[in-house]
């Protein structure tokens, strides 16, 4: 029977087939696949934390900008209509479609904002070498939000809607649409760089180093 204490900190258990593997030989730019079930265990990207910070910050800026300007302009039979992204949700509220409006608000704006802020601050804290119990809270938050993220599906929904109405009205895209498209690009890039093993290992190594430092200090004091 192997005890967890005797294993290197690069040990990992495949989340799909429970195989115990050692990822100590995983080098920058390579990915590790499970030798038994073939699922991707971890991808080690060079400067992953810096990239995460860039994607999260760029995504946040684009998302914030996409709420400010016109999202879409519609004209049909001499009537025009302009909408910003928050208005697409507030109109649903005014139509008293509470549940649909709340769902769209959360998925389109709320979740992505929370996800990118949590991910960006986690990557920043790892990059600075400062981790604490809060890092694990952020990691849990990131894991949960990643599971329920649907921003890119909303984007596909917009594209489908525009094709649907193309023959009854004239549609023009505002700057916000392009900001939201760019936000989606950065979100997908950020999502592809989230690696449970690398992030968890990063936090645990920083915490272990802090622990060693404290012990050393205590020893020096007693000596």
């Amino acid at each position: 029977m192997v005890s967890a204490e005797s294993l290197p900190d690069t040990s990992f258990i495949c989340r799909e087939c429970n195989l115990l593997v050692d990822l100590s030989r995983l080098v920058d730019g390579k990915r590790a696949e499970c030798p038994r079930c073939g699922c991707v265990l971890s991808v080690r990207r060079p400067r992953a934390n810096q990239r995460l910070m860039v994607f999260a910050l760029s995504g946040l800026i684009c998302l914030a900008a996409s709420t400010v300007f016109d999202f879409i302009q519609l004209s049909a039979a001499g009537m025009g209509r302009e909408l910003t992204l928050p208005q697409t949700i507030s109109v649903l509220f005014s139509l008293q479609e509470w549940a649909l409006a709340a769902f769209m608000g959360v998925v389109v704006l709320g979740l992505p904002f929370a996800f990118l802020i949590a991910l960006g601050s986690l990557a920043l804290s790892l990059e600075l070498g400062r981790a604490g119990p809060f890092s694990f809270v952020l990691l849990r938050f990131v894991t949960f939000l990643r599971m329920w993220n649907m921003a890119e599906i909303f984007f596909l929904g917009i594209l489908v809607s525009m094709v649907k109405i193309a023959d009854m009205a004239e549609v023009a895209l505002g700057p916000s649409f392009w900001f939201y498209a760019m936000f989606n690009l950065f979100l997908i890039l950020a999502l592809s760089h989230v690696d449970q093993y690398q992030l968890g290992l990063g936090i645990r190594r920083i915490l272990a180093a802090q622990e060693r430092e404290r012990e050393q200090l205590a020893q020096e004091r007693t000596a």
Binding site: M1, V2, A4, L7, F12, I13, C14, R15, E16, C17, N18, L19, L20, V21, L23, R25, P35, R36, C37, G38, C39, I72, L74, A76, A77, M79, R81, L83, Q87, T88, I89, V91, L92, L95, E97, L100, A101, F103, M104, F136, L139, R140, T143, M150, I153, F154, L156, G157, I158, V160, S161, V163, K164, I165, D167, M168, Q196, G200, I203, L207
Partner: protein
């Protein structure tokens, strides 16, 4: 509850720490540990049934109400696909047909199949079951596209008597169906398919 992992070890789903499975919470991050849980199967079936209950109104009731000068049209999901097809938007009709009709149905079948395989091992090879699981997990969210289309069109097309679109009751039912089948798929555990794990070092 049966715990079984290589040499009584368990990996944290949040911070990936490998640890002895003699405690309920991760010793590093405090998240709940998930040694193999047979009880998840019950959760999976419960969410599956809830999803199925939502599936019926989602397909029978109208998902969209279109009011024009001539009167009000009620469109079900299947009706919407037919209209798009007749208009010649084959690509969009295809996307909606796959995302809204084919995928949910396939998902119900896949989740039920996986749940049955968890009870009766050997019906599917571990590799095949894991592949089905991965597909089910990946595809789940994309069914939501029709709900977003309805929500977006409803907020966009509000031009008084000329034309207005309102979401129908099926929109919420459909969204509920997607959420509950996602929860059901998340309750399945592919590790169950792989018996007698062996440690391996690369």
């Amino acid at each position: 509850m049966r715990k079984q992992s290589p040499h009584h070890l368990v990996g944290c789903r949040i911070c990936a720490l490998v640890q002895n499975d003699d405690h309920d919470h991760c010793s590093a991050c405090g998240a709940r540990l998930h040694p193999r849980l047979e009880g998840n199967l019950q959760r999976a079936w419960a969410f599956w049934c809830t999803g199925l209950v939502f599936y019926i109104p989602a397909n029978v009731l109208p998902i969209m109400r279109t009011s024009q000068v001539g009167g009000t049209d009620f469109n079900t999901i299947a009706g919407g696909v037919v209209v798009l097809w007749e208009h010649g938007s084959y690509l969009i009709a295809g996307i909606i047909f796959i995302a809204s009709l084919l995928v949910p149905l396939a998902k119900f079948v896949a989740i039920a199949g996986l749940a049955i395989c968890q009870q009766h091992r050997g019906l599917l090879s571990p590799a095949a079951a894991t592949l089905v699981y991965r597909l089910t997990e990946f595809v789940g969210r994309w069914s939501m596209v029709d709900v977003f289309v309805v929500g977006f069109l409803a907020s966009l097309i509000q031009m008084g008597n000329l034309m207005s679109i309102l979401p129908g009751p099926a929109a919420l039912a459909f969204g509920g169906m997607v959420v509950f089948t996602m929860l059901s798929a998340q309750s399945l555990d592919p590790r169950v398919f792989w018996t007698s794990p062996e440690p391996e070092h690369e």
